[in-house]
């Protein structure tokens, strides 16, 4: 990878914890601290702590910020309540996905967009190109922001204990909403009840210079609950079990949100609730009407050999008809799971398809996503 690897403000903490660091989207990030399965299981049963400082943060401000994002993104950000969050995408005029995003509304004229590390510069450039004519500014604030996630069924109590002010807000907060809180050590944080694990949890936006203090605070507040630092490897199996797409695998410029089964986030408007123009509108309307030629499905295997990214999906005759986008042995299910694009004719749950696993066919069964849902 690149010599100019970016380092998280928590780099020293990772090294001290004995993390295995790997190049990731231009960053040097922890792939694991102790073991992938222990980290995965901690998030499913207790709490895990993640450094997400590689993610991109983009501030959009101005009286026209909401109108601008309504034009630039596929969802209607003007409809997001103050302190609300929304999962959305930025698409090309042809309807292809440039990135999937979470947009947080911090004020009526202030939004923060979280983009994938690998796409951040592209997203900033696209927003810059689309902002002309709007009373809004686009600013890449990634370098100044650290993002630390506490995820798992015990996350609420841990994050509440980290607060000197706002702990009631933490407990009362609904999924996909956020609040400004004051953490112990006089640290201001923007706390959102969001995540990428399929569990309850919080993501804390703090200044990069305060990241180390917040990380240590989370470990301290979570000690009684056995909080475990978690790396990118467990993050990937957690999101896969939760059926959440990963950009570059399930989502690319060659896929539309409809292909990925995420058409619900494309707001085309209705006669009663019309929506103005937005980038990709015509193509996405066409994609919705025509329906996807290939469908993203979940696959579960009975064997032990896992389908991996890029493996071919085979029909009964052994012809390659689709492609696996993500796959792994599921730590929670104890079976191989995968997501794959297949023709609509093979997308019905219960359909058995073959996977070319390094030259040998393994059968897997189409199943509804997600593979795992937390009890709520």
């Amino acid at each position: 990878m690149s010599d100019a690897s970016l380092r998280s403000p928590l780099h020293d903490q990772h090294v001290a914890l004995g993390a295995t660091l790997v190049p990731f989207a231009g960053w040097e990030m922890p792939v694991r601290y102790t073991g992938d399965i222990a980290e995965h299981t901690a998030v499913r049963t207790g709490a895990g702590l993640f450094d997400l400082s590689h993610m991109g943060e983009i501030a959009v401000r101005g009286e026209g910020a909401a109108a601008f994002l309504d034009f630039a993104l596929v969802g209607r950000m003007s409809a997001v309540a103050l302190a609300g969050a929304r999962y959305t995408m930025i698409c090309t005029p042809e309807g292809g996905v440039i990135d999937d995003l979470i947009v947080y509304r911090r004020d009526h004229d202030h939004f923060v967009i979280v983009a994938n590390a690998s796409n951040k510069d592209t997203v900033v450039a696209e927003l810059d190109a689309r902002v002309a004519g709007f009373d809004a500014t686009v600013e890449d604030i990634s370098a100044a922001i650290a993002l630390i996630a506490v995820q798992g069924p015990l996350a609420e109590g841990i994050v509440a204990r980290m607060c000197v002010r706002g702990d009631d807000d933490i407990r009362a907060m609904r999924y996909y909403s956020a609040a400004n809180v004051l953490l112990r050590g006089d640290i201001h944080a923007f706390a959102a009840r969001t995540g990428y694990t399929g569990e309850d949890g919080f993501e804390l936006f703090v200044g990069a210079d305060e990241a180390a203090a917040v990380w240590e605070l989370a470990l301290e507040a979570g000690a009684e609950d056995g909080i475990v630092p978690c790396g990118l490897s467990s993050r990937d199996t957690l999101r896969l079990e939760a059926g959440m797409p990963l950009y570059g695998q399930e989502l690319t410029r060659a896929t539309t949100p409809f292909d990925a089964g995420l058409g619900r986030i494309v707001v085309l408007g209705t006669a009663a609730k019309p929506r103005g123009d937005f980038v990709g509108r015509d193509a996405l309307l066409k994609a919705k009407v025509e329906g996807p030629a290939r469908v993203l499905v979940g696959l579960v295997g009975d064997g032990r050999r896992a389908a991996r990214t890029g493996y071919a999906v085979l029909d009964d005759a052994g012809a390659a008809v689709g492609e696996v986008t993500s796959g792994a042995p599921s730590p929670t299910l104890g079976r191989p799971i995968a997501m794959a694009y297949v023709p609509a004719s093979l997308a019905e749950p219960g359909t058995v398809v073959g996977i070319d696993v390094r030259g040998r066919r393994e059968d897997m069964t189409v199943t509804a996503l997600p593979f795992y849902s937390r009890a709520s």
């Binding site: 073991g35 032990r304 050999r305």
Partner: protein
């Protein structure tokens, strides 16, 4: 830095060999701590079967972790005389005891192995 025991021989593909690798002798084969750590938690070991012929440098099985899959290469040529059946139910032993209970298979050598590295030379490849 992972452990590289002096008494073992190694392949460039991160297998270890225990025992004198002379024609007719039986050796034990596993993967190194370094390889096991790089794979992460191993959840499935597909070893060759007893009676299979294996050839030095050729694929004879695979190791599956939650993170990745890796091919298992035979570091020696010969006939497989035993496989570690305990790995079927406890593949994580390869992570926890790579040089002991995490052994993978045994081979009766059809020829003396000549391409193996000593501990120092192997350690240099992973430094």
């Amino acid at each position: 830095m992972s452990n590289v025991p002096d008494e073992l021989a190694y392949s460039a593909e991160h297998e270890w060999v225990s025992g004198e690798p002379d024609a007719g002798a039986e050796v034990t084969v596993g993967i190194t701590e370094h390889a096991a750590a790089a794979l992460g938690d191993i959840v499935y070991v597909e070893a060759p079967r007893v009676g299979d012929t294996v050839i030095a440098g050729e694929v004879c099985g695979e190791l599956e972790s939650t993170k990745a899959v890796s091919e298992l290469y035979s570091p020696v040529s010969g006939t497989v005389t035993a496989v570690n059946e305990a790995l079927e139910g406890a593949p994580e032993t390869v992570n926890s005891d790579a040089y002991g209970d995490g052994w993978i298979f045994k081979v009766e050598l059809s020829e003396t192995a000549t391409d193996l590295l000593d501990a120092e030379a192997y350690a240099a490849t992973i430094a």
